[in-house]
Structure formats: C-alpha cells, structure tokens
Symmetry: C2
Subunit: 207 residues, 2 copies
DNA sequence: TTGTTTAATTACACTCAGTGCGATATTAAT
DNA sequence: ATTAATATCGCACTGAGTGTAATTAAACAA
C-alpha cells in the first residue's frame, strides 16, 4: 500500500482523481437542485442528468438519495472527536465537550448552515436521517472521551455528557436557524449549554 | 359536538368501533409479520392480506409503513408530559423530568421493550424514524415544563433539560437492551441520569 | 506494445412504497 | 327514503432502490 486513501497529492492516479471529481459533481449538482426545487421534488434522474452520469451510476457512488446530504454532515463527528482528543489535560469532561463544540461551530460557515437547515426541513424523511448523524457524532465524542477517562464505570456518564453536548448543539442550531443567523452560532450554543449546566447545578441539595 | 374523540364509552357508534378495530388489526398483524420476517422483508401487500383489507385501504389508516411502529411509541410523549404536569410544585425542573421518566419507565412492560428494540434494529430506516419520536417526546416535555416555569428567558434551559431527560432515557434503553433486560429499565435510567448530573456538577468552580 | 486484471459505467428489467383518481359500498343524519 | 359522509377498493402511475450482465476505461505485467 503505497498511498493512503486520503492522499490528495500528485500520485493519486487518474482513476482516483476522476472518481472524486464525479462524486463531488454529483453532490454539487444534487444540492443545487434540492435548493431550487426541494428534496422530494428532485428525482434521481434529474440529478444524474445534471451530473452527466446514468441513474444506475449514481448508486455506485451513493447508497441512497439521503446520502448526498448526510455526506455533508459526516466529518463533523470526527472534527468533534479530534477537538476532544487535543484539548488541555487539565479540563473536566464537561468542559472538554463544551470547548469541542465551540471550536467546531466556529469553523462552519454561517450561510452554509442556514441553507442546509432549510433543505433539511423540506422533507420529513431527511429530517429523520439527520437525527441519525447526531447519534453518530455522539458516538464519536463518547469514544474520544473514553480514551481519556478509561475507567469503565465512568463510561455511561461520559456517554450522557457526549449526548448533552451534541443535544445542546442541535438545539442551538435550531434556535440559530429560527433567528435566521441573527446571533453567531457559537453564542447561541454557549447560552444553551451554560444555562443547562446552571439548571442542573441549581438542585445541588440532597436530590 | 356531543362526544369527544377519545370517548371509549358506549355511545361511540358502530363506525368508530369498526375503525378502531381495523386499525388495531393492521397494527397487530403488521408487528407479527415484522417480528417473523423483519421490517424490510415484509411488504404492504402481506400486511393488507393478513389484516383482511386492501393495500389501498392501508393508506387510509397509515401514511407509511413506519407509522405502524411509530404509532406504538406515540403516547409516551403525552405520558411524560402528564407526569411533568402532575409532579409536586416544590420540585426543580431537573428533578421533575427525572421523576417523569422514572414513572413512565415503570409502566412499560419489559418484554415489549426488548421486542420492539429488536424490531427497530432490523432496519436502518426505522432506526432513523425512532429518533424523530424522541424529538417529539422532547417537545412534549419542554412544553409541559414551560407551562410551569413560563419565564421566556428560561425556555432554552428547559429545552436542554428536556433533551437531557429524553437522552438519558434513550441511552438507558440502549444499555437495557444490550444487557437483554438483566436490570430493570428504571434502574439503568437512574444510573445514567444521576451519573450525568454528578458529572456536570463536578466542575462547580469557575467554568 | 500487447494482453490481462480490475474498476467504472451503463442498459434493462424488476420490486416495492406511496399517490391520484374515481367508483362503489356502508353508515349516519334528516 | 333521501341525502350526506365516511370507508373500502381497483387501477394506473411515479420514483427509489436492486440484481444481472454487458461494455468501456484505467492499471499493471510481460
């Protein structure tokens, strides 16, 4: 194995290059059409024609129509996990996940978020799949957390902490889009996350 | 309007009675088939035949195949919301949601949970839809919470608290099923919820 | 260069979920 | 008995996704 899968240097070979271009073209044309006509009103035939491939070839690159959208959200999980792994050793889990989401939020362009959200809302089916990607992000964070706090008896707590962070992110995205990006995403997230923490801590006496 | 929609007394009329029987029959036969052959390997034609109706009539009762499963999980949201509404006035939000989930967990038969979970795992698509029902449950809880703590600036915190409770429930269900019901669901949930709260409270100093 | 292997692309035919439309039967209301 | 709703059904259609097998193009070896 000379070249790794994601080697974007010169020696990737013509095949791999074409492959990536094709996949990218499908994604771009697909999103274009989705934004124009809505997800459900766009057929695979239309996407195939726009991307200059046959309908059957589409399924060589994607397993379903949804995957065009999902492929955009994949990667966020890994970004979050990386942020967890590279955070200062002095922090507590709850602080680590907060920082992780904050740093990732900053990297996502605001316009993209709003457009994607509008897209997601055009179809209940897609809305459903999006939730699955949140679960994947949770898992990614959870694994990264467990690598740093490996005591097995702590695993469940870390799982819920991961869930809390992704959940706060999800809600922040919701609010962010409802306000049409009036405030930066990071700010909304911090408000959601911190107010939740405050709420939990408010019942400090014998529960 | 003489009779309310859910009046299960004598005066419901023959029509309503038949209607409910048909819907129930479809659900039961559907679940039977799903458990036998898996969700994806069961066609609507088979369900229709088993329920003694036409394929077309199925869509008079349900809007999709998924809805058979989803209709079973619906109702939990309302149970949770009711539990929130009827909880003692002295409790804090975080305590209220904990109690609500605990009380609802107790009412769900263990065997049902395990069977349903196995079913859900037979299809990624269904798995996705399940997540949507969690979101619905979150909303139900959130609304009930807001009715008790109506200050608008607290809404987001309550939203995240609702999410935390449903999330802990979801994770508890996951663990519960992984252990094949070795421990009661309530116990697993309490462990998940409480350990998360402990984790959040652990960073009590200047965050 | 040529031949060989492997991966990409396509056409065709198929299954199944879901919808639109219109016809017929059944129950309720007057 | 008439009339108005509500249920049930058949038929034909669209669109997603799969299986199969054939064709084309790139990679590699001699």
């Amino acid at each position: 194995m000379k070249n790794s899968e994601h080697d974007s240097k010169a020696s990737v070979g013509l095949r791999e290059r074409k492959r990536r271009e094709t996949k990218k073209r499908i994604t771009e044309k697909g999103i274009d059409l989705f934004l124009q006509k809505g997800f459900d009103n766009t057929t695979l035939d239309e996407i195939a024609v726009a991307a200059g491939i046959s309908r059957r070839t589409f399924f060589y690159y994607f397993t379903s129509k949804d995957e065009i959208l999902l492929s955009l959200q994949s990667g966020i999980g890994e970004m979050l996990a990386d942020a967890v792994r590279t955070s200062p050793a002095s922090l507590l889990p709850i602080e680590v996940v907060r920082d992780a989401v904050v740093s990732v939020c900053k990297t996502i362009p605001t316009n993209d978020m709003i457009e994607m959200d509008r897209l997601m809302r055009t179809s209940p089916g897609v809305q459903a799949r999006k939730q699955v990607s949140y679960v994947q992000q949770e898992s990614a964070i959870h694994e990264a957390l467990r690598a740093r706090w490996p005591e097995p008896e702590r695993s469940t707590a870390l799982r819920v902490v991961a869930m809390l962070s992704v959940g706060a992110m999800r809600i922040a995205a919701e609010i962010f889009n409802r306000e049409k990006g009036a405030r930066p995403m990071v700010e909304v997230f911090e408000e959601a996350f911190d107010s939740a923490v405050r709420e939990v801590r408010s019942g400090e006496r014998r529960a």
